[in-house]
Symmetry: C2
Subunit: 200 residues, 2 copies
Amino acid sequence: MMSSRWSVAAPGRRRGPELERAILDAALEQLGTVGWNALTMEGVASGARTGKAALYRRWPSKADLVAEALRTRLPPLGQIQDLGSIREDLYALCVRMRDVMHSRAGQALRAVLHECDHSHAERFHGLIWSGLHEPAHRLIGELVHRGIDRGDVRSDATGPFLVDVVPALMMYRTKVCGSEWSDGDIAEMIDGVMVPLLRV
Amino acid sequence: MMSSRWSVAAPGRRRGPELERAILDAALEQLGTVGWNALTMEGVASGARTGKAALYRRWPSKADLVAEALRTRLPPLGQIQDLGSIREDLYALCVRMRDVMHSRAGQALRAVLHECDHSHAERFHGLIWSGLHEPAHRLIGELVHRGIDRGDVRSDATGPFLVDVVPALMMYRTKVCGSEWSDGDIAEMIDGVMVPLLRV
């Protein structure tokens, strides 16, 4: 198989990082078209115009490759600039969270979770935690502190459960009601729950 | 197999409802000992000292039998008597919700969900919805109205998201942090989120 790998990989003569990007892009592409169960190392290698050995040198298994593709392609939550009120700050954060879940990698991640078995699910749930919920908790904590300093959040808005409310409601309605979180849903949640919960 | 079924079933000479209860109890017992994947109609029949035909006459498949056993054995949420404040009323409700999930049927339901494949998971998730979340939404709505009438809940505490907060937080911390919801966790959630969210 060495000869076919080199002959296929030869045209672009891609080096390490470039080839790696091509493989991870091909993995995400395959996930979107054939799904988790039908995805194969051969299929991804073919999509990236390389050989299976190039994949196995970097990722010992399909699960490792897919986890890396999802982890590196999930858009970061980033920072939320000060929009002048806790309402607008939290709205911007929720829109960002929804957009991460609706991104190509976010949708692929949800599809994988729906398809894979429990031994893999724990690992992929971990990606949602480290890529979305953990940064969301940190950001919400920052927005609340900013609101306290600005004066539109009560100074005793503390405690471990406050930063859970937004991710918990987003997960709950997504799972239980299949909500896609329209802008209107987000505004209704902020105005109906977060603003009364935090106001002075 | 007819002879062995009758010979085994004969001692108690159990009629319809009594035999049905014995089968459903045996199904829950089997779930607790061998789990969803290893549970068989034969094993349940043997545990109930009857024959497989008695099971198949009532439930066409193992999934139907298990769903019925879980549905009928999950303790009902019931009503929450007026404890004098929204804090105490909601605390009692959350303790009740936790106790339903920690009941024998509740634990079996969670174990089944962890073990079964996605084609069955939807059905068993439906049992949590209809047996726990839906009645919880209804009860929380009643407690909030009672609080408005009593005067310790603001009169504009309305909107579709308010009744989601408790079930969402309970699901979130159970799934994401593996929380078992001690009495202290429940009190901290009520005091940190629900009381400030609802107070006048």
